[in-house]
Assembly symmetry: C2
Homo-oligomer: 566 residues x 2
């Protein structure tokens, strides 16, 4: 490809709208252009990257026995009503009516469609296991689409669905996909980590997220240096911490003026925060919930929600707290009515602690959980943090930030039951099909690759997913010797299967070098005066900036060898 | 691929809903399943065919300098309002609102998006010409989606847009695409014909349709045996026919009881139909139109619409005719008021003809056009028919039926003007970009291939787009020799790059043969008793049913040689 013909409009300035680096660089380097909030055009450079990611995904899905098909984008409402998700999805689902007034949505995911598709035609155990997948535009009407391709409203996803006879079969399909996903992200040249995840709204009982590690990642993860444990912080299990035994002292109601925070009450009482108990109040569909954790700990809201079996959960407002007879900043579990008290298991191990007295400027001290209050639920509801003991091996965990690019879920029979997808087993007995669902965000993987691989000058593509492998840049277009050598090398590289751009534009060398760095070609091949006079072609790696010189007649082999190592 | 694992649920019965052969066969052979009216799931076999067509399209677009990108499916209303098509498209456009109440549509085509995309970044003549394309799901809410993939509501299209400096540049881009399209359909193995077409609602001034020839085609085309003229009947030009000269006789108003049709009045008057004039009435946005053609000719409504410059045109109802003071069956151009009379040029050459008198049971005879009535418009408004003289060379034309699988359009500046897409020429003058638009229906091409290539047993795929090249069928699975030979040949063929299915299912040989014919593999490789005992592997071509025998050790080469000829 000649740069003079390539449609890659670069920008000199960073667009103000772009908050994250991948968004900035994809706009500046001419990879994407916005059509509407969260909806983008993928220009030729981006499309080349996306096709490479898709090809890797396709090969790995096929290698595990996945069969590719294509389901529709416009999906009829009925199947979503059968599973109840027509209501559950709320405003996040794009909905429309056809000319006859029938309800449809734009598929945010395809469990309903694929289950409906196979339920009438998979009848026998001999047709299982089955894995079907597609690579397709998906649609979610995010409240605040942002971060470019990281959270868009129209995006490309690979979604695979597995159908098995039983849980043992599901485990096998799940492991195949876990392996395939590891291979996909490895082949894409990304540093990633599979972590245990909360299955969330999609349902089911087992799930891993595949996280590309990047400081700009939205998700917090913990991992253990001592063993291979890794989890989304939302999911990370914690064992209760023991406190040194003390003799329980007598409960005392104490004035603690102006101590609305844990820090304030701890200081006022001359105690460490770890000797106090923090109470947070949530409104849920089950009623008002008080969540109790040790004063220096944080609440994991997802765990609270799971602990009480709530469908929704949000911070309680002051009016609800007043109606419940308590006071913000002084909440506690003692004497409250019509409140579901959920205590972290660590709280139950504490002695002579401190809780709010549900009236302004007062706390109870010498509180002994179990003696002075009895929670409705005791559970692990704490948010893990750096240094907490690993739930597997006890070593201190580390934290990192990641970008979720893939997720594998065990659905079990959630959708097959709702949609009545059954088969006849060897004994002629009707059984419910056991399902799994496995997604890879293709556009998100491209954005995550950039978040992980960039510097002040632009993108640093892993060679496997770079839009082109190399740029050949004649320093001075007006110099016939340079121009001819550049053309020759360009033709030879293309013939040797190297994906190469010849920067034949009438631009200053500085502009061409800057654009090459911005776009992020793995190799920059410079044809300057020395290349001609001394037969030394300079090849510079984008990552690391290593410089190599080759005689022109050895340049193609040299470049191929460098690429093979990238 | 092993047939036991391939997800291709075949049906023994032809589904009642399927009216055309491609729809019937794709349902029966397990290629597609309906999700909603005009919306289909493409199962693995269909998806393999579609990917092959896409690959051919992509290679030919790239060869002409096309650059692939991907634009969104969900498009904001504003750009469609700028060109006026937000209203013009009417109910055929799927519309939706996002959670903030903003208007969007599902792209039925992308002239607005692509022009908006490039208008801010193509600034200089040096950036032109430019050709951008995508392969993508498109959406049109057809009133009556039917014929399976022939007229769907969600379908796959390749759409390319060309941007040029001037009309000479557009001509060049148009010719490149015309050539690319010819190559695409040739490579797909289809019999097709490019025909001159009416540009229709999309606008512009020059257009060809690429028609796959099939008796079941929706479109009627004419072509000349004497020269290379070919056109959609809607578009086919006609020169006026001369009638033998006669002396004009005196106009007479005559009773012609009960003669509501041309046949009746001609018989009543003892004249050939070619001596009468037929009048048809249409309601248009310009008013009531009378269209006049020779009694034995038919009206081409598109030509009438173009002749009066109407945006819509439909048959007039009885109430409108009554209000205009005429009578159905007895309409004519003499004495009518507030009616736009449009006469076919051939009518103006007639002598002493017959027209309705606008009152029941009466006609005028000895009518001489020009003397007895003066049409508002004289134009070519006749529908061409078999045997009419070719407008180029005068030889009689032939007719055929075709399926439109591609169309190329010269748009000129219709969209670039509306959306203000300009560039600066060599002299620094602002000029409007000149555009073309070029579509291929990918899913429609698959359906058309089946309409053209089938027999009573099923599909006969052209090898280039067949889902697999060959099926290896052991006649008796229980026979170890047959099973082993089949497995060996299957492995060897796959290793040699032949796309092969091994029918390892526990089915009777008859079922396997029937399924292979139905699915339409170009080659059927039968491993029966003879194959083992006499070392004779039978290979049968789906098309033509030729039978070849190869020793097992030569079968791979023999099969490859056969495939190369298909």
């Amino acid at each position: 490809m000649r740069a003079s013909q390539l449609y890659a409009p670069t920008l000199r300035e960073t667009p103000a709208e772009a908050e994250v680096i991948s968004h900035q660089l994809m706009l500046r380097a001419g990879f994407i252009r916005k059509a509407a909030g969260g909806i983008y055009n993928y220009l030729p450079l981006a499309w080349r990257v996306l096709k490479k990611i898709e090809k890797i995904v396709r090969e790995e899905m096929d290698a595990k026995g996945g069969q590719e098909l294509l389901m529709p984008i416009v999906l009829p409402a009925e199947m979503w009503q059968e599973t109840g998700r027509w209501d559950v999805y709320g405003d996040e689902m794009f909905r429309l009516k056809d000319r006859h007034g029938r309800d449809f949505c734009l598929g945010p995911t395809h469990e309903e469609m694929v289950t409906t598709l196979i339920r009438d035609e998979v009848r026998s155990y001999r047709q299982l296991p089955l894995m079907l997948y597609q690579i397709q535009n998906k649609f979610r009407d995010e409240i605040r689409p942002r971060f470019g391709l990281m959270r868009g409203r129209e995006f490309i996803m690979k979604d695979l669905y597995s159908f098995d006879r039983d849980e043992a079969g599901l485990d096998e399909s799940y492991n195949k996909m876990y392996d395939a996903y590891s291979r996909v992200f490895t082949r894409c040249g990304l540093t990633f980590r599979p972590v245990e995840a909360d299955p969330g709204a999609i349902g089911g009982k087992g799930s891993h997220e595949f996280m590309v590690i990047a400081d700009s990642g939205e998700a917090a993860i913990v991992y253990c240096g001592g063993c291979d444990y890794a989890a989304n912080v939302e999911k990370a299990e914690l064992h209760p911490l023991e406190a040194p035994a003390e003799a329980p002292a007598e409960l005392v109601l104490k004035d603690t003026p102006g101590t609305k925070t844990i820090a304030a009450v701890a200081e006022f009482l001359g105690l460490p925060a770890a000797k106090t108990v923090k109470t947070l109040a949530y409104l849920t569909d089950k009623g008002l919930v008080f969540a109790l954790v040790r004063g220096d700990h944080d609440v994991n809201e997802i765990k609270v929600q799971n602990a009480v079996g709530a469908i929704f959960l949000q911070m309680a407002d002051e009016a609800s707290l007043a109606a419940a007879g308590t006071s913000p900043g002084f909440m506690g579990p003692i004497g409250v009515k019509d409140v579901i008290v959920v205590a972290d298991a660590t709280v139950m191990k504490m002695y002579n602690t401190v809780v709010g007295a549900n009236e302004p400027d007062r706390h109870y001290v010498n509180v002994n959980p179990g003696r002075d209050f009895k929670p409705a639920v005791v559970a692990d509801i704490r948010l893990i943090r750096e240094g907490d003991p690993c739930p597997r091996c006890g070593e201190p965990v580390k934290t990192a930030r990641g970008i979720e690019v893939g997720q594998v879920f065990k659905l079990y029979t959630k959708y097959s039951k709702a949609l009545n997808a059954t088969y006849l087993d060897e004994n002629g007995q009707e059984q419910t099909i056991v399902m799994g669902t496995y997604g890879i965000g293709v556009t998100r993987t491209m954005a995550a690759a950039i978040e992980q691989n960039n510097d002040a000058n632009g993108i640093i593509w892993p060679a496997a997913i770079a839009p082109f492998h190399a740029a050949v840049i004649p320093v001075n277009n007006a110099d016939q010797g340079q121009r001819e050598l550049a053309e020759k090398l360009y033709a030879e590289l293309a013939a040797a299967g190297v994906e190469v751009v010849l920067d034949d534009r009438d631009e200053r060398a500085g502009v061409k070098f800057k654009d090459a760095d911005l776009i992020g070609y793995p190799l920059k091949v410079t044809i300057g005066a020395k290349a001609v006079s001394e037969n030394k072609v300079e090849v510079k790696t984008r990552r690391g900036g290593e410089v190599h010189f080759f005689p022109a007649e050895e340049a193609v082999e040299g470049i191929k060898a460098l690429l093979a190592k990238l």
